[in-house]
């Protein structure tokens, strides 16, 4: 009888204490705001970028969609994707200005972005890559090795406007002529036709060209820079530390160590 009473008291106390975080201690402000809104607003770039995110009719698919949904699940709210950003820079701005809670949008960590946003641990680590117009390369070798021509690149280089590669290009190829474009397709067409000499992006996007534009192999050459990185991570506002912790937990437990090979496999499966 005494034992039964003790057990009863214990049970009651456990239920009482278990409710503590919900009722007595207030939630951190970033989480509280999400709970209050009843949804996690995820900023995601407008143009599709498979296998990170792409839409088929009304449905969204991809790695970033999965990650965002896992984070929302941890919070017990649904994820709402806003896709009105026209480029990666606008995605970053939406989070910075509070129009979205989080950016899961194949966003690279860069110096300028680190000044206004907080990034999670990377879930994808890529190297930086170039496709170079072959004719330009052989006409500008001037007795040098190909790698020397790239290190000293002084031709016309193109990339997506205000993307991470806009930043990287100005750091790594200071002698180049910079020609940013809004559309990646335009960049590829221009390097194939010789209008520009090189296109700059991550190794995955560069590898993807050989599947989408098999004829590019004749006019262009793929060059991967082994001592470079492109960290793809989730971004939140500077005061979103609690949300960041959840994002890091989701990444560490489910989306760890995704490299170019795994991305390529995901991409081919979807094709």
């Amino acid at each position: 009888m005494k034992k039964l009473l003790l057990l009863l008291t214990l049970l009651v106390s456990v239920t009482v204490f278990a409710q503590v975080p919900d009722s007595k201690v207030p939630l951190p402000t970033d989480i509280a705001a999400i709970k209050k809104a009843g949804k996690l607003v995820v900023a995601m770039n407008g143009p599709d970028s498979p296998p990170f995110f792409s839409s088929q009719g009304d449905e969204l698919h991809g790695l970033d969609v999965e990650i965002a949904k896992s984070i929302a699940k941890q919070l017990g709210v649904p994820a709402e994707f806003r896709r009105d950003a026209k480029n990666f820079a606008e995605v970053a701005e939406q989070v910075r200005d509070g129009r979205a809670d989080i950016a899961v949008s194949k966003l690279s960590i860069t110096g300028p972005r680190l000044q206004v946003l907080r990034f999670s641990n990377p879930y994808v680590i890529l190297r930086q890559s170039l496709i170079v117009n072959r004719l330009w390369l052989s006409q500008n070798t001037k007795g040098r090795e190909s790698y020397e021509v790239i290190r000293d690149f002084d031709g016309k280089i193109s990339f997506i406007r205000n993307s991470s590669y806009d930043t990287y290009a100005r750091i790594n190829f200071p002698k180049a002529i910079f020609l940013p474009e809004d559309s990646w397709d335009t960049v590829i067409n221009n390097v194939m036709s010789g209008k520009i000499d090189a296109a700059y992006r991550d190794e995955f996007e560069i590898k993807k060209i050989s599947f989408e534009r098999p004829d590019a192999a004749l006019s262009t050459k793929t060059i991967t820079i082994s001592d470079s990185v492109d960290h793809i991570a989730v971004a939140v506002r500077p005061n979103g530390l609690q949300l960041l912790g959840i994002a890091n937990f989701v990444i560490a437990s489910q989306y760890n160590n995704i490299d170019v090979k795994k991305l390529m496999n995901r991409y081919k499966e979807n094709k």
Binding site: R134, A217, S219
Partner: protein
């Protein structure tokens, strides 16, 4: 008709070639099982070629030294080589100008997809800051070194024909200049080696129709019909170039020997077949010598000139390089004006010289010598060239062998008849 006659009839050989092409196109997997037969045949041809070559050059050099007029023959060899290389380059450039086709965007897309297909994962990896491994550059010394034999037994073992020929020339000159009884004995021994080798070649000839079928059908099957369609312009240009060289050589050989075109074609058809099927110019040396001697050309001169010209004077490759470079220029929309064509002309001769002693893919890759002069990228297109090379090698070897028979005809005098000069 008895079996021997049937096997050596030109109609049997022509039939086996046609069957081989059909077999390669329609039953590619089945004919690939025949590949070892072709391999065995080429090995059997080559196993006697080296002793034959050795004996023939020595006998030729000593014979020449004992006669008058060796100096004028050397002069003719040099003139013959230079003239033939120039003609080959002109023919190469000429056939691109004659058969030059427009490179349309559709064609480029097809070719590009093919490169992509054949060249998966061929990305280049570099560093921006960290040191790069430095590849040693081939020096001019290394270029010359490939002509100089260091250890003749090693060269025989490795089949380095160029070094063997040069050793034989040096050794033959030394042998021809010593006055001893031993010299004649040695020459007699080498003459026996030569005759024994020839009887083996003659025996092997009976298996030619079977070997031809195996070798040609497997080459056709390897290339495949798909790429054949995409590369058809290139294949046609190379065929025209090869045909012109063969035609010029035949006309010259016939004119100088006064034997008539028909007799000349009949005389060299066997050599032509061996060239096309074996793709080994070395294996053609005994057949070409036999053919030229039968057409009335001086035996000693023929026996000395053919090994030298077949190994050094890369007529087939020069034609190939000229056409290949013009093809690459077309792909990259680089208009070759008169100046560009002149660069192609002399660049091809240079590449031909640089390609001495190389075979297969290495020979094809030497096209970079001409492309570098024009600052054209050859790397991507090389993948396409290698894919169709089983066929191109046939054309290259045939024009090389018959072309050099023409050079030999220029050097050697015609006996049993009036010599024209």
């Amino acid at each position: 008709m008895n079996l021997k006659k049937f096997l050596s009839s030109p109609w049997t050989i022509l039939g086996s070639i046609l069957l081989a092409v059909a077999g390669g196109v329609y039953l590619p997997q089945e004919v690939m099982t025949l590949e070892p037969i072709g391999g065995i045949y080429i090995s059997l041809l080559k196993v006697v070629v080296l002793p034959f070559l050795f004996a023939t050059i020595l006998v030729g050099v000593v014979g020449l030294l004992q006669k008058e007029g060796s100096r004028s023959m050397i002069k003719r060899i040099v003139i013959g080589f230079l003239a033939s290389m120039f003609i080959a380059a002109v023919v190469g450039v000429g056939s691109t100008v004659l058969t030059g086709s427009e490179m349309t965007p559709e064609k480029k897309i097809q070719l590009g997809a093919l490169v992509n297909n054949k060249d998966q994962g061929a990305e280049m990896i570099i560093t921006l800051k960290e040191p790069m491994p430095v590849a040693p550059k081939p020096s001019a010394g290394a270029m010359i070194q490939k002509f100089i034999p260091e250890n003749i037994f090693q060269s025989l073992d490795a089949g380095e024909s160029l070094k063997i020929v040069i050793f034989c020339l040096i050794f033959g000159i030394a042998l021809g200049n010593i006055k001893s009884v031993g010299q004649e004995v040695l020459i007699d021994i080498f003459k026996s080696v030569q005759q024994a080798s020839i009887s083996i070649f003659k025996f092997l000839n009976y298996f030619l129709p079977i070997a031809l079928f195996a070798m040609i059908s497997t080459q056709v099957a390897k290339v495949g019909v798909g790429i054949f369609g995409t590369m058809v312009d290139f294949i046609i240009q190379q065929t025209v170039g090869g045909f012109l060289i063969v035609a010029i050589a035949i006309v010259y050989i016939a004119w100088k020997s006064r034997k008539g075109i028909a007799t000349t074609i009949k005389g060299i058809q066997e050599t032509f077949m061996i060239a096309v099927s074996s793709r080994s110019s070395l294996a053609c040396i005994p057949y070409s010598q036999d053919a030229l001697v039968k057409l009335g050309y001086n035996k000693d001169a023929v026996e000395l000139t053919t090994p030298l010209s077949f190994t050094v004077n890369r007529i087939g490759s020069i034609v190939y390089y000229a056409i290949a470079t013009a093809f690459i220029a077309g792909i990259y929309d680089l208009h070759l004006g008169v100046a560009g064509l002149v660069v192609v002309l002399f660049g091809s001769i240079l590449a031909g010289l640089a390609s001495a002693g190389t075979t297969g893919i290495l020979t094809v890759a030497t096209v970079a010598v001409v492309c570098d002069l024009l600052r054209l990228p050859s790397e991507a297109v090389l993948v396409l060239f290698i894919a169709v090379d089983p066929l191109m090698d046939m054309i290259r070897t045939a024009s090389h062998v018959i072309g050099n028979m023409g050079v030999t005809a220029f050097v050697a005098e015609v006996e049993n008849g009036k010599v024209l000069s």
